[in-house]
């Protein structure tokens, strides 16, 4: 069964304290992996797409990496405005010709000043 898990469920960091969020997946026919950010009361906002193992993408204090079984979202010197829930989603071959997207449950990040 296709599955996406994320850890930790919640993470509290001091401002400036770097850390990583993990996304592990078990899917057949992986086509790529997405990271989204979701602020309270809002819909998810797209951050990155990673297509193959070894690929890395960066945006400000965020860097996403991908291996064959998992992805990491590294947060360097976070600021309070980085506080949000980070969602991982995997794109895979669906039953029809349309790709399916499977979301993980998310990691809630709080950055304390």
């Amino acid at each position: 069964e296709d599955q996406v898990t994320q850890s930790p469920e919640a993470l509290r960091l001091q401002e400036g304290e770097s850390s990583s969020l993990n996304c592990s997946y078990t899917v057949s026919g992986l086509r790529g992996l997405f990271w989204y950010r979701q602020d309270p009361g809002k819909g998810p906002e797209f951050l990155f797409t990673l297509y193959s193992a070894g690929e890395e993408k960066e945006k400000e204090r965020l860097k996403a990496t991908l291996t064959k079984k998992e992805s990491f979202l590294h947060i360097t010197a976070p600021k309070p405005e980085d506080s949000a829930t980070y969602l991982c989603a995997v794109g895979a071959v669906g039953k029809t010709s349309y790709d399916k997207v499977i979301f993980g449950p998310g990691t809630s990040l709080s950055v304390i000043p």
Partner: protein
């Protein structure tokens, strides 16, 4: 920027009522999606549409139906609302088939009493 607009931010309905959730996107996207988001469960796909008047069941279609009469509009219908349909409902659109990112609306929080 893509804009996905959901007609209501909050809805309170009674058990047994027929409920309509409306979603409009302004970027001429072919694909549109309805998800529900529940704590600890992540986003789960209810239905999606890859073209006008076309629809496909997602992972949890029971108790729901959809309508797509125009390309920009995708409606989710709860035929007879039940308390276990209390949730956050998120609409999303995507440019075309393939591994493109989803663009989400800000959600409708539905409470069924």
């Amino acid at each position: 920027d893509v804009k996905v607009t959901q007609s209501s931010r909050y809805l309170v309905k009674r058990t047994g009522e027929k409920v309509f959730l409306e979603c409009v996107q302004d970027m001429d996207h072919e694909n549109m999606f309805w998800y529900r988001q529940d704590p600890g469960l992540g986003l789960r796909l209810i239905y999606f549409s890859y073209d006008v008047k076309m629809k496909e069941k997602g992972d949890i279609p029971e108790g729901y139906s959809v309508s797509r009469e125009k390309k920009e509009r995708f409606s989710l219908i709860l035929e007879s609302a039940s308390t276990n349909q209390t949730s956050m409902y998120l609409c999303a659109s995507r440019a075309d088939r393939g591994l493109k990112p989803l663009h989400f609306g800000n959600g409708t929080r539905l409470t069924v009493t």
